[in-house]
Symmetry: C2
Subunit: 195 residues, 2 copies
DNA sequence: GTCTATAACACGATAGAC
DNA sequence: GTCTATCGTGTTATAGAC
């Protein structure tokens, strides 16, 4: 679980993949488009990675770190407030263009994972890491008597699933009017966890 | 909203697209693979559709009909039982290989929609149709005094989002152990809607 | 309506100079 | 480590016979 620290070049390539995915999506991603978003040429990328998918994996690893930190570095202190704040972060807003595009990219990779073994491990890592952080917050809440004796992992998965699902019709299809009601129901669901 | 009835050939091609997507995913979908799943050659497909994406749209339209019928033809009669049954259907089980692959395919198309205008309309139609049916059930429940005065559309969207999200880590990544807990939380959430 | 053949191009990846 | 040039292959879509 101790991740290797990427070099500056590797980080730059991962970021170029992120930008290229944000512009074109995975189905239309090419090494030429990754190169266009970086300071290198196409051949230059292949000095650092053996294949296009290896570059995508580099993006996924950097995204995992980013998402994990986002959920760990909350400002709130009590379990209830922390869960609500975490919820605010996983339910990305349509206006937050950069997060929006990143979430959509991860969703496309996730949906393609059954057909591409290379992506499976890194994506499992990404999802497990998110799940674990949320589960920890819920467990704290139960221990401290704030939440009922719920299934912490189930609750974490349910919230994460709702947030991921909202990426589909709210973020990808831009169903604007559904964002607020969705978030409101997530809030109601958290209410129902309280003792 | 009155859909054109597809010819037999069109239905066969839509089904070939479904099978090809199930085997290879959208990012690796080619017209040759669609032809391989049908009784026609590649050139034959182009007599019926102008482009690969037009064939994918044919698949989406047939999937919309299938999913809509699935939610409309419930056995249960009361709003509560109907919502629970609908929930059982949208939370697809890992063992249900055919539904699993179809849901993953729709998810990949959804995530690619921002980059492909052709897919947007048909996908919006598909999601709206699901949303509408669920919303109708919740509204009935409120009118009949079974559910609290909740936001019917928000509740429908939240359940649908949770189900779609479960397609990501449960169906696509095959996180087996998360299926039951997820469904259990959906059930708890429905409990919380009761008066 | 369906076929064979192929045009026209895009793509992933490598060779070899610097 | 990065470049230019290019190889081989896969891909969409069409032409034209039947």
């Amino acid at each position: 679980m101790t991740e290797a620290v990427p070099t500056e070049t590797q980080a730059e390539i991962a970021d170029a993949v992120r930008k290229a995915l944000a512009k074109h999506g995975y189905a239309r991603l090419t090494t030429a488009k990754i190169a266009a978003e970086s300071s290198k040429t196409e051949a230059g990328l292949y000095y650092h990675y053996d294949s296009k998918d290896a570059m995508v994996v580099a993006f996924l690893e950097s995204a995992t770190g980013f998402l994990k930190r986002q959920l760990e570095e909350l400002e709130a202190t009590g379990p209830e407030a922390r869960l609500r704040e975490a919820c605010d972060r996983i339910f990305v807003k349509l206006e937050d263009e950069s997060r929006r595009r990143t979430n959509i990219a991860v969703m496309e990779l996730l949906a393609h994972a059954p057909y591409n073994e290379t992506l499976q491990g890194p994506l499992l890592e990404l999802e497990s890491s998110n799940l674990e952080v949320l589960q920890g917050i819920v467990e704290d809440g139960i221990e401290q008597g704030v939440f009922r004796e719920v299934d912490a992992r189930g609750v974490a998965a349910f919230l994460l699933a709702a947030a991921s699902g909202s990426t589909g019709f709210y973020l990808a299809l831009e169903m604007e009017e559904i964002g607020a009601p969705l978030h409101a129901q997530a809030t109601s669901y958290i209410d129902s966890l309280l003792v």
